[in-house]
Symmetry: C2
Subunit: 436 residues, 2 copies
């Protein structure tokens, strides 16, 4: 097991800037599981952070080393969930969460690396491996602890067997047409109106039927930016808004009502991701504007309650926030049970690459639908991945490469490893010269 | 700023064993803020963990170094909350929570060390410093973000001014009689029935009017242990139960009902600390048994919702889980607003030493009552602290030493630092001999 602290200097261009995150340096606490198989097959995974603290995230992954070393490929292929269960179930590590924050994201990185390894070994893209799996096997991959008041294993099994009906046709449709996407590229808070309008028009020309704007820093700015965006895309394109947790409950309601003349499709993260009851209150007050959240929701237990409380119109999974594929299976099952569409969070570093597999599995073999479902797309940093996402006509093309699309190029690791990669060394040298 | 990874081998005696934590090694990720003041006054704080991962917790504290170095004592004394605001508000670090898990506990450790420093500098125990403070100043120490739908700054100010009435009399009573305690020492899951009965009788003889038993691993064992405990203490002593998050919602209800014949006073942590709606459902089903939780509740936002949802009879703050004194002030204010008694979690390493200050402040200058309020007491590891708690007749004596009672003896650090303290070196040598 190798770990890497990889940081990209995205704050220089205000890519990714929003009301809570003015200057993110998109980063990955990256892990590689090596094997001594004849083909040297590896597994890759990562936690996504936005800069400072990525070293802490790497330290947390390093702390999990003894839980994965020495396992056999056969054991992992038969039951990838064994790693998830051992890590989540370790009582001493559990104290550091439980099931939340740095330690849980570290578990997610390692668990995702195991799934990348397993899918690579089996020669299938992850979405296809999951879609082909026996429902009984998939149910055993899920930890139902704390879920059974909302979803039992036997209900999950029924959902998965129902998802098998028509799966072959949907797989064929997916391979032919891909999966719908929307784009956030026009809407970063640090972009000027001209850039916003230009990128919004480009998005429509590129085939996207939904864009997203960051809001929440200044209401007058938001009114102006929403007007510019709506003018750029016309009435037929969905414009979603994202407040990145900026507001308290009452403030959220007032702000969203003020922006409602521009017909926003959803409001994302109007308040704290921990505030289940707050999201429910906001949703009641701002309908028909939809409420979306999930990228910072810490685990399946909070998602369960968001669904139980009727707090969500749209559930946004993130591939690298929770405890990996196994926990995201639980969350997809919960969403299917409650009939709420899943529109994943992506962007950052490699989040598009990962999460597309989960939505594609969901379409082929669980919810069976792409209606009102879109995967976020942001056009940053894909070139660092060996199997980058492919977008055609505003849709994600189904990955055909084996694995979870998590592998970064060795050259990217060498350049952007922090603090000793070539980029950061050169950056320090430049700064030192400037101060001399 | 110095940090230490301190671990005590408590698993050897099954001290602290419960249904979720069979073998904890009570540990502290300990931080010391040094100054160049003439008297070399220092601040001490820590996060509490139960062993593995304490190194990750230390790494997280180390990542906060640049946020505290170079501040002046005058600045900190005027506004200790400035450190809390800068740490919680850092957008890049925030991504690692937000406000939860390893990073948030690290913030709590540093913020508590700042308060230890400030109280030491001002020559007062922390409870007295807080009780003497101007309500306007205290309100400025609180982060109301995400709370205003339940508690506004002006409501908080009203509560604190109301708390000033009679404060002098209560301070005098506190100094004379102390603050009520209960003890968990008899009830660890790893103890046999004979040890349980003996310790329970000793607890009553020592003046405690409430004890607590760990439950949740095996129902037949729990029935037997509850029977033994009730027989040992008689009908007039409260017996609280603690499941340490072991159950799903429906299972919790069934298990608690099965134990209700022994008249349990409260059931603590019946399910996941993240499950607000689950706690509310359990509470509705098991009344008159009270529901208590909080030691693993990640922040003020979850406490807010537990209160809004009517999920709690008893709110259990922990001094070292959330973001330090500032966030615990918010939580005490929320509890006062909702009229729910606070019975802190303690035990572990130094948690009794810290949390007594918060309850004593609450009694003197906020809720104004000790009715149905007890601080947990566990008689472990106090000797490692310079100002250990003092228990008399089942009550905590009010600390008289300046500070937050967080300072450990240098000799304890030298012995139990991991992995190079004298205890752990000798332990490794013994194990190596045994395997040779």
């Amino acid at each position: 097991m190798d770990t890497h602290d990889v940081r990209f200097p995205t704050s220089r261009e205000l890519d990714g800037s929003d009301a809570m995150n003015p200057d993110p340096d998109y980063s990955a606490a990256y892990v590689v599981l090596r094997t001594d198989a004849p083909d040297k097959v590896c597994g890759h995974g990562f936690a996504f952070t936005i800069g400072r603290g990525n070293d802490v995230q790497v330290a947390a992954i390093d702390a999990l080393r003894s839980y994965v070393l020495g396992r056999t490929l056969d054991e992992l292929c038969a039951d990838p969930g064994s790693v998830s269960r051992d890590l989540v179930g370790d009582s001493q590590l559990r104290w550091l969460g439980p099931e939340k924050g740095v330690l849980h994201m570290a578990i997610g990185a390692v668990v995702n690396a195991v799934w990348d390894l397993v899918a690579s070994r089996q020669g299938k893209p992850l979405w296809k491996l999951l879609a082909d799996a026996e429902p009984e096997w998939l149910v055993r991959q899920v930890d139902f602890r704390y879920l059974t008041d909302a979803l039992t294993p036997s209900e999950a099994l029924d959902l998965l067997w129902a998802g098998k009906r028509g799966a072959a046709e949907r797989e064929s449709a997916l391979r032919q047409h891909g999966y719908p996407a929307y784009t956030t590229s026009p809407g970063w808070l640090g972009y000027g109106d001209e850039k916003l309008s230009r990128l919004a028009k480009e998005a429509v020309a590129d085939g996207f039927t939904q864009i997203k704007l960051k809001v929440g820093a200044d209401l007058q700015d938001d009114l102006r930016r929403c007007r510019a965006a709506r003018a750029a895309v016309g009435p037929g394109v969905r414009v979603a808004l994202d407040a990145n947790q900026r507001w308290d409950v009452d403030q959220a309601v007032q702000w969203i009502r003020a922006l409602s003349e521009f017909g926003p499709y959803w409001i994302e993260e109007p308040t704290s991701p921990d505030d289940i009851l707050g999201h429910a209150a906001i949703r009641r007050a701002v309908a028909p504007v939809r409420v979306a959240t999930g990228e910072h929701v810490q685990n399946r237990i909070v998602f369960k309650q968001l669904l139980q409380a009727g707090a969500l119109d749209i559930l946004q999974i993130d591939a690298a926030r929770v405890g990996g594929v196994n926990e995201n299976l639980a969350i997809l099952l919960l969403a299917a049970k409650f009939g709420v569409p899943v529109c994943p969070h992506a962007g950052g570093v490699g989040l598009c690459e990962l999460v597309q597999h989960l939505s594609m599995f969901d379409y082929v073999a669980l919810s069976g639908s792409t209606e009102d479902r879109v995967i976020e797309f942001v056009d940053h940093l894909h070139a660092h991945f060996r199997a980058p996402v492919r977008i055609r006509d505003g849709r994600y093309a189904a990955p055909t490469e084996a694995g979870f699309s998590a592998e970064m190029h060795p050259a990217s690791l060498a350049e952007f490893s922090y603090p000793d990669g070539t980029y950061w060394r050169a950056d320090r040298a430049t700064r030192q010269e400037a101060t001399q």
